[in-house]
Amino acid sequence: MDYSNLRRQAASLKKGLFDQGHLDEQFRQVEDLQDEASPNFVEEVVVVFFKDSGRLISNLEQALEKYPRDFNRWDAYMQQLKGSCSSIGASRMKNECMSFRDNCGQRSVEGCMGSLQKLKREHAILRQKLESYFQLLRQVGPAGAATRPAM
């Protein structure tokens, strides 16, 4: 098992996320909060995030159908999602949230639809990358190091 290699991969993956704008400084702040007391804090937060954001996106989709042109409602939903994204540092997703809200402000249904689609895409991308990242981390981490099979 090449921990250093794994670690390198993990680091590289993370760097890529930052460079590509998927993650921002806030993510580092969250990472800083991880310590001996909460060794898996970041992963826990990320898990919660994806679960919650998945729910919010699906609510929003339903709202788009159920309450056509109810921009205020849509905006309210999106604001929640935006809050989550900014708390974790999901930068691209956050930008899509903002763009969605702008479209709501402009009362453009298509704009909103378009933003939502992009948002979903970003969401999927980020999820996949972070999952990989954590998998790597688990492998290189103390627990993973000992027991995980090499990836």
Binding site: Q79, Q80, S87
Partner: protein, 701 residues
Amino acid sequence: MRTDVRRGAAATGMDQFPVGMRVLAVDDDPVCLKVLETLLRRCQYHVTATNQAVIALRMLRENRDMFDLVISDVHMPDMDGFKLLELVGLEMDLPVIMLSVNGETKTVMKGITHGACDYLLKPVRIEELRNIWQHVVRRKFSTRDSVNLDTYEECNKPPSADSDYVFGQVTCGSPDQSGRPSKKRKEYHSEEEDEDEDSSGQDNDDPSAPKRPRVVWSVELHRKFVAAVNHLGIDSKNLTVTPFSVATYFWSHSCFFHVYAEAVPKRILELMNVEKLTRENVASHLQKYRLYLRRLSAVASQQAGIVAALGGRDPFLRMDAFEGLQGYQAFTSPAALSTFSAHGLLNSPRNNQTAVVIQGVATSRSIPTGSSSCTTNPLIGDAAKYHLSLPGNQHGNLGQGLATSLGQAQLQQKWMNEGSGDLSTILSGNSRANGMPRMLPSVTSSPLLPPDLVECTQAKVAIQPSVRAPSASVELLEGAIGASSGPLESRVSQQSALPSSGFSANMLPVHGSFNNNGASFSSNGATRLGDAFSASFRPTNDLTVARGTKVGAGSFGGTIHLSPDTEQKYLSFGSSDSLLDPKLVWSSSQLPSNIGAHYHSMSQRSNNCSIDSSHGGRMFGQTSASASTAAPQTKFDILFSGDTSMARNASESGPQRLQSELSSSTCSFDGLLNSMIKVEKDDAAFGDDLGCDFYSLGACI
């Protein structure tokens, strides 16, 4: 620091605030909540997190001492964050920090106006959270001060610097923090009740908070201060310019505003003999006091003009005039203008504050006149009745005027003689600042009545004619004042009850005795009182009084503080002048408390003369009684005329009736009362500007 904070800190094993500060975090977003919670823990706070506002509220309500600070998201599904903010602020008076992803100015503004002590944008950074403990400390500090200062302060005024009490601060307006002022008032009240604290002491029980040595000018302390000032400085030098000249118009006396020439801080300090009080404290307090007097004076002059007009509609309407009532001060010279919060009282435009501040400094008159005449106080309670509805103005002046008059050390002393427990106490310069203390509680209850009003109340009490039927008066007073019904003569005795009762409206039936006593009343200090009274009245539009009566009844002028916002009819206090007349024997003792009480009650009643009518009637009776008999009838006469005009403005019937009532010297108080009541009934028109029963009162007076 609050003990609970300490407790919280101690709970963590370290009594080192902000470590261990107990934070309640509320956010429906689980991601944010988790991150926030961890951030707060990283700052070494003790964190309780919940994603539901209702749960948070429940926790807070169960035990508000469980937390030191609340951080809440703005957008939550079960409850709007602003609503939670308001509730927490109102019910628990805890600092609340808002969080939101939305940083738009208007949203932030909304947070601040709802009382948030801070507004953070998501994502929250740890650096920001490290500083949030300041809000806790700040609040503790200011709450403590405001409680102490509340005696003098206007209700909603945010706590000001130490040793500040706002003279007639007219701020009672919309509190910037919705529930908090009232909360403070409540606290203040309780403080008042058991007030005993060492005014000069600083309640330094918070070791971890930086403490600046501050002198808290409690009512007691202020009273001593005023007494000292009065003792020293009664002089004929004028402190204020304008009002004085104007005042003279109304008063025969020009002892309108006395500058406390001799009242230098050093000597005041000596007289006060309060340990731990420094000359600097006294000096700064004196400065404020002077400003206060000046302000009253200014109002008085303003009012004077109005009063002079009398015809003016509603001179009484404007309690502002009261401010000018500095006259009282003048005459009460030693003035216990102490904080005349009457001003404050008036100031708070809380609705229904019908604080009738009768600036009937009649009491003061009585006092100076010496024991013999002292029956003057009577009407303080009555004064209270007068409901002056200050239309929305925070004319603390009235109260002030009243207070000042009350404050008159002289008066107090006299009253002391009278024996009226309260009154004398109240009035005595030394004793509670113009009886404020007592009144304060009641006063404060009504937003309009700032503690200062207590003074006014005193006056009011004084105004109460020690008329016969003490019981009657009592009833008049509404209860709030705790009308201590005592005959005028008995003023003192009743008065004593007052202070304790807070405003027992000592409505001494002024009436008959008035005349009897009035004479003496006028003789001595009457003028002063009258002046004071008139002064007080005049300035305020509310009071038609202040007609140049000499009555120096500064204190006497019960200030009838009518709720500003209601166009209540205020009793035309103008007659208060007559009250001031020596004739009026006001049980001074009653004043303070009565007034306060009355005031309070009055304010309670939004109706304009609800009590007023009753009181007013009384007052009227008194006034008339005095008017007719008192030498300085002039004022009264004018008053009447003024009333007439006022009546015109207001309801014709009412005032006129009053006048007639008043004119007949024989008019018994009861009669007046009746008429007053009638007037009140009719009243809708009555004094609509004036709002006042007061109006009629004035006539009476």
